[in-house]
Amino acid sequence: MTETPAVAAPAETARKFNIDTVENAAKTPDTELPWAELGLKQNEFDEVVKVLGRRPTGAELAMYSVMWSEHCSYKSSKNHLRQFGDKVTEEMKKDMLVGIGENAGVTNLGDGWAVTFKIESHNSPSFVEPYQGAATGIGGIVRDIISMGARPVAVMDPLRFGAIDHPDTARVMHGAVAGIGGYGNSLGLPNIGGEMVFDSVYQGNPLVNALAVGVMRHEDIRLANASGKGNKVVLFGARTGGDGIGGASVLASESFDDTKPSKRPAVQVGDPFAEKVLIECCLELFKGSLVEGIQDLGAAGISCATSELASNGDGGMEVELTSVLLRDPTLTPGEILMSESQERMMAVVTPENIAAFEAVMDKWAVEYSWLGEVTDTGRLIITWEGEVIVDVDPRTVAHDGPVYDRPYARPEWQDAVQADSFTGSVQDAGRPSAPADLAAAITELVASPNMCDKSWITKQYDRYVGGNTAMAFPDDAGVVRVDEETGLGVALATDANGRYTYLDPYHGAQLALAEAYRNVATSGAVPMAVSDCLNFGSPEDPDVMWQLAEAIRGLSDACMVLGIPVTGGNVSLYNQTGTTPIHPSPVVAVLGKFDDVARRTPSGWKEDGQAIYLLGTTAAELDGSEWSNMRGHLGGLPPKVDLDAERELGQILINASRDGMVDSAHDLSEGGLAAALVESSLRYGVGARIALQDVLDRDGVDLFTALFSETQGRAVVAVPRSEEIRFTDMCTARGFAHVRIGVVDAEGGTLEINGVETMSLDALREAHEATLPKYFG
């Protein structure tokens, strides 16, 4: 029998490092440090030395490198992002309870309720390791929502992957969708919508964005700050491990390049069960008012949480790093500071509340460790067995990172791209006009990768849990009830169009906002706030930087016109492979409010004989459209933006919903009227008879253009006979173009459009639903 060798006690192994103390750093100014490997540039390292008045210790270097990364510091975009705070009127501020800068913005819903929502990217990890990347994307955004004091109530996930038929797309698709489902479903949060776009520009840089929304009472809003000298600092939740080290710096802030070693170890690994327990545990802490300040641990882990909590509060904190509970006892202090292990939170607790805090932890079997306390010294001091390894002004870590005015210029190729209109191009040859050809074109459109049915994805997500989901995919917006007594609720939609934004970043970003705004209004909700996830290529490329600057300028201008503020968001740069960036893809989420979600308007037809109206006018706008995309063309100018028209259309749709004037409404966007008519038919399997002659005569377009143009500011609605006069009177009074284009036909099982061969709903459905299963099984 062999003896089992004695295992060294973790406490002993943990102390075997050659600890680089502040004292040591002061004595050894010339020690070589791996700042470049950690993602810092020479000028940034020099700045760290200047700030500290000496070389940083290894631990300090770790902190600065992650906190000054593009991902955490917004150093390339900060100067531009200011516009979201500057271009805000008093009117726009009236419902904003917490603005940009906190974990997530908070908007007043009335009746004492508040809502917080935010969209973030988890792009790079999701390419390297799709399941864990996407899963922890959900986990991170949900913790942002909890950190504000809110109960999370729903998630959404806009996805952009490479070409549908590329072999690697299936890897990303299966992994990311399973990850979002596997994590989100286990949290008990309904997934109420999102997007799915396929385009080869995202082949090496898929976009996995995640949105979460939470609700709370006004008095429950929590902020991330550490105040009150002598209050205790506690870390709780999962243990700290070696996963996700440098995720923010080496992964999220650099371009991919296949000459470098795999970055898989920089991806975090999620445990949704730990997160679910953490959610309930935090809500119980809030309920008992047991925490003074709270911060989730996401990008940059403990570095971020300690420096942000300290600099937002009284400005001082002392932490003993060996008190951190570890999964892996061999982690160095720098690794502990940089680890992005998931499902962790840091809180500040008064000494009186320690016992009550520990009781909640014990109830939920959540591990915790007391790390230190709040001081009034203005310094963040981190010790390792009592020896000082970090002694910094926390502001310099959290807020005073480098800010760059990156050079930008309108790309030389932009003019040529904009001059290359689809109309008259080689790809435009043989534009369909015969009835059979138009029917074939419509069928091809609704079966195309971007327009096809997405239920292959959405049926892998729980939409019901919570019992408050009033509407979800495939309707225009996801709708969740907040207050069961009154029906008060929220609607959410996310949109982006990379092709439009490539053609014209300023207007493309506005079009994304306009569409999300329109989707929310189409559901019947009043748009209130915006969160954006700006996915772009490398800011060191002046072309990309121009796209980013233009998109931010466009978005902030449009928010002013629509009167809804940006309350938070995220910037994801370096989404490029080699020197080829993705299409600029500002994903815009709009939140709207319902006084009573029972008034929501679904997108499908139900009642036989209801009148179908087309709202808005149609111009010949095929550049950047799905049709041109299907024909392999990208050039020209995107559809014209008319924000006043969007506002007016929104008012009509909101009033119509509130006063019961429409039974269904569907916005027109990608795929134009053709896509909207098919989607409204297939929603409940109820067809229609449509005649577009009045539209053709009024707008001077041909039938193909009427069907496939992507002119903005339009929607189709179904109006009960009894409401027709009231509805048309309202449109007339508001001077908004409206024309009756047909009638709902519950009997025929077909979609009849004059001039187009009659299409059976069964055949349309088969084409619409077959695409994703064909590629992904």
Binding site: A178, G188, E219, K459, V465
Partner: protein
């Protein structure tokens, strides 16, 4: 800090006053997700939901117990395998097997916990297509004499949401034959078997009919507009009114 109960809290509905005194326990494990929904369903049926914590050692004076869906203990090891050892489960097992025959309903993860507890035979494995699936599912009520199905007609078809990853019901042929022979197949999938369950079985009962488990979620079909789009949207409410009528009937 105020209470946060309004999310997941149901509006009181005018219910049969006879039923209002009934108390139905809803168990919460770490990782349980549909407990608030089950409590809402109990309320909408007219009874009083009672929160039961997995670590508790008493059932109090509840008249019935619902073990709701979710991922208790993260479904680690095997769905329901850890939850089965919770202190409260031994109380539930005893009460279900006692002469009083406490009515117990296990939904989804609750069903998995009941099979792991040996209150019900068979087991659930991963769906045959290996994916999580969320859909509106049509079920046929094969047995309307259990504690939880008395308000349905035999053979009635109802639509309730289904959402799970490990929903494929399996058992050996002998067990399946016995279940069929004894009328203990309570629900069968109609039109589409969403997970490869043997003999389209969606739910079963114990021999006495007081313990019922099923994979689909009746508690998500209790309020029009917040459940399935097919049918009335409230076709799951009958589970909860059934048990109330049973309780009140027994107490008469």
């Amino acid at each position: 800090m105020t209470e946060l109960p309004l999310i997941g809290e149901a509006v009181a509905v005018a219910a049969n006053p006879r039923l209002a005194g009934a108390r139905i326990g809803v168990v919460t494990f770490p990782g349980t997700l549909d407990d608030r929904d089950a409590a809402r369903a109990v309320r909408l049926a007219g009874a009083t939901p009672v929160e039961l914590w997995h670590a508790g050692t008493t059932l109090g004076d509840v008249d019935a117990v619902v073990i709701p869906g979710g991922f208790s203990y993260g479904d680690y090891l095997r769905a329901g395998a850890i939850a089965r050892f919770a202190p409260l489960m031994s109380k539930i097992i005893d009460a279900a097997n006692s002469e009083a025959k406490l009515p117990v309903l296990g939904i989804c993860n609750g069903f998995q916990i009941l099979t792991e507890s040996h209150l019900l035979p068979g087991s659930m494995i991963k769906n045959d297509h290996l994916k999580f699936m969320c859909r509106d599912q049509v079920l046929r009520v094969e047995n309307n004499t259990t504690a939880w199905t008395g308000d349905y007609a035999a053979g009635q078809e109802i639509t309730v949401p289904l959402k799970n990853q490990d929903g494929q019901y399996i058992a050996d042929e002998k067990t399946l034959d016995a279940l069929e022979a004894e009328g203990r197949v309570v629900f069968r999938y109609v039109g589409f078997n969403p997970n490869g369950s043997r003999r389209d079985i969606a739910g079963i009962s114990n021999a006495a009919g007081n313990v019922v488990g099923l994979m689909p979620h009746p508690e998500h079909a209790v309020e029009a507009g917040f459940g399935p789009e097919l049918g009335s949207g409230t076709e799951g409410l009958g589970f909860f009114t059934s048990v109330l009528n049973k309780i009140v009937g027994d107490n008469k």
